[in-house]
């Protein structure tokens, strides 16, 4: 690692560092619990999200990095250290620390084969998302899509297989291969923003993008990318549910409701994407000849409508996969309320705190709601209150709040000219 790469990698804001520290502190705890009782928890699930903060930070900083006197290779390496190497190192350090502490206490119940399998599994999940993102950005062609699909299929095999030594070692080997390939790719990786809504005339030759016009057609163009994103989220949530359900089948103490909670938490991320679009377009939206009431209602309405559509897909898939999925139904009003509130939260906080909150909120909320069918009414009440609160809050943010109108850096790596192939 050259000094410039080191400077880019170790460039943390204190607040960001604190968030990572929390994640890093949770992992050894989960690992320790698993080592003491190998069938009780799945630490791997959290590992999957380790790379996301680093990837986001690297994406936002990329335009400035491009100006610095560093080569494309160095920028690519900095991204690799942040997105691939750091999660791997954190996973291995966490497991080692947990093993040392639990071992000193004499509480290790997992066999060496189980521990090796867990290590391999965690490594694969840690590099799964960044390797896919980096590879997709590097290749940018059909081959990238083929490899991405293959990579996802391999991951699915890993995730759906029982946690045996062979599976763990295979997963570990996959992780090592992905890490090496992305390290050797001699290019600056340009991750593109998918959340910015273009308002205005279509650029010549550019792909058709949503354009805001007056009247209902304008609202339709605003809602279209949101619905597309929500459909994507529905697919991911179905995948999440299936993964969790199948992991549960392999001996973990996971239940259907917990899997449902996890899937609904993924689905609740959709408003974060819509929030980014509203944020990018906030000034233009406020410039339209419509009232704040209408603007808030239309935005919340779009969130609720998209949630219902995506939920329908998830529910149908879950019924086909596992039979009755009552837990999902119990969570639905809760999810809608949460989504309605996460939209103004996103405008206020800039960072997708709503997304970060969704997993603990849903899993804890689910545990409460799953206790008794009568408590399902509590979910409906909470959901309704969430929609009302979300509407009031969003209206405030759009009409009186100032932060929604502040510019927000997105991944502006759409530099002019052809992107570098490597």
């Amino acid at each position: 690692m050259t000094s410039f790469v080191r400077r880019m990698v170790f460039d943390f804001r204190p607040a960001w560092l604190a968030a990572i520290a929390v994640l890093v502190a949770i992992l050894p705890l989960l690992d320790g619990l698993w080592l003491a009782q190998p069938r009780s928890l799945i630490p791997q699930v959290f590992v999957f999200f380790l790379a996301m903060p680093a990837l986001t930070a690297a994406t936002i900083k990329l335009p400035v990095w491009g100006m610095l006197p560093v080569s494309r290779r160095e920028i690519g390496r900095a991204q690799w250290w942040l997105a691939v190497a750091s999660p791997l190192l954190i996973v291995l350090a966490s497991l080692s620390a947990a093993l040392a502490v639990v071992g000193l206490c004499g509480g290790v119940a997992a066999s060496p084969a189980q521990i090796a399998a867990l290590a391999g599994d965690e490594c694969a999940l840690a590099v799964a998302f960044p390797a896919l993102a980096l590879w997709n950005s590097i290749a940018r062609n059909r081959l990238a899509a083929v490899v991405a699909v293959g990579w996802l299929a391999l991951l699915a095999v890993v995730a759906f297989s029982p946690l045996t030594l062979a599976v763990g070692l295979t997963a570990g080997a996959l992780a090592a291969t992905a890490a090496v390939v992305t390290y050797l790719a001699p290019t600056m990786v340009l991750l593109r923003s998918t959340v910015q809504l273009s308002i205005g005339a279509r650029r010549a030759g550019a792909r058709s993008r949503p354009t805001l016009r007056s009247g209902m057609r304008g609202w339709a163009t605003l809602a279209a990318p949101f619905l597309t994103d929500t459909a994507g989220m529905a697919v991911v949530s179905i995948f999440a549910f299936a993964t969790m359900r199948l992991l549960a089948r392999h001996g973990n103490a996971l239940t259907d409701p917990t899997a449902a909670g996890f899937a609904m938490a993924v689905l609740a991320l959709a408003p974060s994407i819509f929030g980014a679009q509203v944020r990018q377009s906030a000034r233009a939206l406020r410039g339209l000849p419509v009232s704040g009431d209408f603007l808030a209602s239309a935005s919340i309405g779009a969130v609720v409508a998209a949630q219902l559509l995506a939920f329908s897909a998830l529910y149908l898939a879950c019924r086909l996969l596992t039979g009755p999925a009552d837990a999902l139904l119990r969570l639905l009003p809760f999810a809608i309320g949460f989504s309605a509130c996460s939209l103004p939260l996103y405008l206020r906080s800039r960072n997708p705190i709503g997304a970060a909150l969704s997993f603990p909120v849903f899993i804890i909320g689910n545990d409460i709601l799953a206790g008794s069918p009568t408590l399902a009414w509590l979910g409906v009440a909470v959901g309704f209150a969430g929609v009302v609160a979300g509407w009031v809050w969003l209206r405030f943010e759009l009409t009186r709040g100032r932060r929604a109108y502040r510019p927000w850096p997105t991944a502006t790596s759409s530099w002019r000219g052809r992107q570098l192939p490597g």
Partner: protein, 290 residues
């Protein structure tokens, strides 16, 4: 070391329907080059390509004696680029962004940086995200001017700046130019400001370079003539004469002395009523809008 700070040879770049170039353009060392053109002409694309942000489809780019992309690191170490799209919000506070950026440059001058921060009214403890648009532009300018770069590429540096700050910026650019062999390229739509500051000008339109050269020579080369057609018909096609407007028998034309033959014009059924020297703005409108 060549006499040219920037040499673009047959540079092309296609982005959708937009085609930049083939662009052959040189900027002499020590010049303050006004790089102007209408919106979407390709100015930012050209500057981005010089800085290695994207790759041209063809041609060669040399800036400060360094070739792009072969010498990209050495090139970026010698060039400072200011662009309105740059955002340092990811670094939180102004001071953190400066500390990060300064670590990459051996020629960073902390004293100059502190002076510029005070001059532009920025505080190291301010959050970048809460800065106004103009203040964020000031921060980008501080980042560029705190170095001893050989070439300064300024893309719309005055956008969002108040008049007083604009004057301070021009003072800083003049100060920068006092150092030996420094070159500045300014892309801007503030033509009156550029006319006072720049000694060279290049006009780009639809991705093609219309003209480039010394400001005084270009302004002298072109002349606006107002006249009357004595035969009531149209002005015959003449080299170096372009009709800008016609109202009845009155004609306004642009005369390019480099190609126009005055005797040929005198032989035409056209009575010259007035000859008006052009400002940069007049020249821009005449060349681009017509």
């Amino acid at each position: 070391m060549t006499d040219d700070a920037i040499v673009l040879s047959r540079v092309t770049s296609r982005r959708g329907d937009f085609q930049l170039g083939p662009l052959d353009w040189t900027v002499p060392r020590g010049a303050v080059m006004a790089f102007i053109g209408p919106n979407g002409a390709g100015k930012t694309t050209t500057l981005d390509l010089m800085m290695g942000l994207g790759q041209p489809d063809g041609g060669a780019i040399e800036v400060a004696g360094q070739h792009q992309p072969k010498d990209e690191v050495a090139l970026k170490a010698r060039v400072a680029y200011v662009n309105p799209d740059l955002n340092f919000a990811a670094w939180g506070k102004v001071g953190r962004a400066i500390d990060f950026i300064s670590g990459f440059y051996a020629d960073w001058d902390n004293a100059r940086c502190a002076r510029l921060l005070a001059e532009f009214g920025l505080d190291r403890n301010e959050r970048v995200a809460t800065l106004s648009f103009g203040a964020r532009m000031k921060l980008s300018l501080v980042m560029a001017l705190s170095r001893d770069a050989e070439v300064l590429l300024l893309d719309e540096p005055t956008v969002g700046l108040d008049v007083a700050t604009r004057h301070k910026l021009f003072g800083e650019i003049l100060d920068f130019m006092k150092r030996e062999g420094r070159t500045v390229v300014i892309s801007s739509h503030q033509l009156a400001d550029l006319e006072r500051l720049a000694d060279h000008v290049a006009i780009l339109n639809h991705g093609k370079l219309l003209t480039s050269g010394r400001m005084d020579e270009l302004v002298e080369r072109y002349e606006q003539i107002d006249g009357r057609l004595t035969n009531g018909r149209s002005l015959p096609a003449l080299d170096g004469v372009r009709v800008l407007a016609r109202d009845g028998d009155r004609v306004r034309a642009l005369l390019d002395r480099k190609f126009a033959d005055e005797t040929e014009l005198a032989a035409c059924p056209f009575e010259v009523l007035a000859r008006t020297p052009l400002t940069l703005e007049d020249l821009f409108v005449a060349l681009v809008a017509n």
